[in-house]
């Protein structure tokens, strides 16, 4: 009886399955009169690269992309902890960058973008009158 769940069982099942295949092939060649060693060599050669085949089988598992992501994250973590100076620089740069952007955005937002705290604030206008005087204009601001 075999158990379908769990990574280790999965691996073992795959090993048993491939081993069975090779053994059958070896037996076939031995029945044709080859020595055990010769039969084994030939079976393996015909099968091709066993590890590559195993890897390709693993890639067919339904949630394999999750495993890939997990592996990438672990790899990233390992590489970063191997060069802490670099990691600090990267995190510092990101923190400064994000902080500065946020600060500037909040400033711009409150000064320029946020609607004024009046009802129908889009109807507030600034009205100015221009009085021609000698060579210059005097501005009389007025609010409506």
């Amino acid at each position: 009886m075999r158990f379908p769940f769990g990574r280790r069982n999965w691996e073992r099942n795959m090993d048993v399955e491939l081993r069975f295949h090779l053994d059958q092939q070896i037996q076939e060649y031995m029945d044709q009169g080859l020595s055990r060693a010769e039969a084994e060599r030939r079976a393996r050669r015909e099968f091709g690269d066993l590890e590559v085949a195993k890897d390709e089988c693993r890639d067919q598992r339904p949630a394999e992309w999750l495993n890939h992501i997990a592996r990438d994250v672990r790899h990233a973590g390992r590489s970063l902890s191997k060069s802490p100076g670099f990691a600090v620089a990267v995190v510092g740069t990101l923190a400064l960058g994000i902080g500065a952007t946020t600060a500037i955005f909040s400033l711009i937002y409150s000064v320029l973008l946020k609607p004024l705290p009046y009802p129908q604030s889009e109807r507030i206008f600034s009205v100015e009158t221009l009085l021609p005087r000698e060579n210059s204009f005097a501005r009389l601001p007025a609010r409506v």
Binding site: E17, G48, L50, A53, C57, P62
Partner: protein, 97 residues
């Protein structure tokens, strides 16, 4: 498609699929053994094949693949598609003008 067809006949293990395909096609078709198993695993995870562990005649444990209902439908679709393609190609090849 060929693997599905072979597995449609009876539950069968990987090694026998290679043998059967060679024998049925009179040695014209040979699966590369290294790519057979990834293909089987893919067909299984798509739900077209299901696998059970059984004893062989030589009393060894082996993984036997058989077709699911969905696999049977897939096989029918692929077979129709293939036949249509073959007909089209031979129409072109047999044109005399």
């Amino acid at each position: 498609m060929l693997i599905l067809k072979i597995a449609a006949l009876e539950p069968i293990h990987g090694y026998a699929i290679v043998q059967r395909l060679q024998q049925v096609s009179k040695d014209a078709l040979q699966i590369r053994q290294g790519s057979l198993y990834p293909a089987l695993y893919r067909l299984e995870s798509r739900g077209w094949l299901k696998a059970t562990w059984k004893m062989t005649e030589a009393n060894r444990e082996a993984k036997f693949y058989s077709l699911t209902r969905e696999g049977r439908r897939q096989l029918e679709n692929e077979t129709t598609g293939w036949k249509r393609l073959c007909k089209a190609i031979s129409l072109v090849l047999e044109t005399t003008e």
